[in-house]
């Protein structure tokens, strides 16, 4: 099982690839809506990618109030 830092790194890599944003521009405490320039529909798209990548289910309500990569990684880590 990946450790939290690995999980966070995978999320940043996947987000950069999917939304075509340079990886070096993404930092763990960034607001992913702003940094990735996405709305909530695109956030759901990211959620699908993350679920498929990590092989987990992450109910939408787990994203309540979550807007930074580090907190998102914590939510995902708890499902691994």
């Amino acid at each position: 099982m990946a450790n939290p830092e690995q999980t966070l790194d995978e999320i940043l890599n996947l987000s950069a690839t999917h939304f075509k944003v340079p990886r070096e521009k993404l930092r763990p405490d960034d607001d992913f809506f702003k940094t990735l320039h996405i709305d909530s529909l695109q956030a759901l798209d990211l959620l699908t990618k993350l679920e498929n990548h990590f092989g987990i289910e992450l109910p939408d309500y787990e994203l309540q109030g979550v807007s930074d990569f580090r907190t998102l990684a914590g939510r995902i880590q708890s499902r691994l």
């Binding site: 809506f33 996405i38 709305d39 909530s40 959620l47 679920e51 109910p59 939408d60 309500y61 807007s67």
Partner: protein, 267 residues
């Protein structure tokens, strides 16, 4: 006429397959303009069904199949009128959309929803009237109505009850969470999960396969195994209209419509 090009949707009958393409910006939200064109489509389907063996429904928009009812139109119209009049307007809308969806649900064709991306609320209900759902791996299914103080109103609950175990129905309705395509397939909701962008191609291949079968037999088998839950559908309309007058609904709609946050589609 074997084809139609509208503002919100288009359809064409070709080689025994009717293809209905949804294309209303931003994400095929179902309001009065879509309803009018769906009603015309339902009339056309009854006219061409003897020349077809399959119906495919899909979206040409990147965001997904359909994000559900046009909440902005619903909010605007219900705010323009006195509460009682607004509820009657809602009831009329629901009865009209139910008529359309019941026609598609019972059509003597094999119906296939080829979905991708957001398949929420009324969009999910449109997919549910089809015999088969083929989802690409980006598809997400959700009934978010509880977030607005409502229940699904386009027939989603009776059709979910028809097709799925009650525990799954409760999970979808009472948590308002979305299922990805794999989860939806594991519950039996989705027939096939395919690669991104492949749902329409595979739906067409499936429809082509169906050409080999005797149409009357296929239609009879479908009628036998797929009852239309008319009584529950009527009760759903009644319950929706009762709930619509609650203050929570107007508050929920206002919050969605007026939000400038990035999260209106998230809980």
């Amino acid at each position: 006429m074997n084809s139609f090009q509208g503002d919100t949707l288009s359809w064409e009958l070709r080689d025994g397959v009717v293809e209905l393409a949804l294309h209303r910006d931003a994400c095929n939200e179902i309001g009065s303009s879509t309803l009018e064109e769906l009603e015309e489509f339902a009339t056309a389907i009854e006219r061409v069904e003897n020349d077809a063996h399959a119906l495919l429904i899909y979206s040409t928009l990147k965001c997904g199949f359909c994000a559900g009812a046009d909440l902005r139109e619903l909010y605007r119209r219900s705010n323009e009128m006195e509460r009682g009049v607004a509820v009657e307007g809602v009831r009329e809308f629901l009865e009209r959309i139910h008529r359309v969806l019941n026609i598609i649900d019972s059509a003597p064709l094999t119906t296939i929803a080829a979905v991708h991306g957001v398949t929420f609320g009324g969009g999910f209900e449109l997919a549910l009237v089809c015999d088969l759902i083929i989802a690409d791996k980006t598809a997400r299914f959700c009934f978010p109505e509880l977030r607005l103080g409502l229940i699904p109103g386009f027939g989603g609950i009776p059709r979910l009850k028809r097709d799925m175990g009650n525990a799954v129905v409760r999970d979808l309705l009472l948590t308002g969470r979305s299922f990805n395509a794999s989860k939806a397939q594991s519950t039996g909701l989705v027939s096939q999960v395919v690669g991104e962008g492949e749902a329409l191609r595979i739906a067409r291949a499936t429809a082509s396969q169906l050409r080999k079968f005797d149409r009357a037999t296929a239609a009879a088998a479908k009628k036998f195994i797929k009852p239309i839950p008319y009584e529950d559908l009527r009760r759903e309309i009644d319950l929706f209209c009762e709930l619509f007058v609650q203050p929570a609904v107007q508050n929920g709609l206002r919050k969605f419509v007026e939000s400038t946050e990035a999260q209106p589609y998230l809980p």
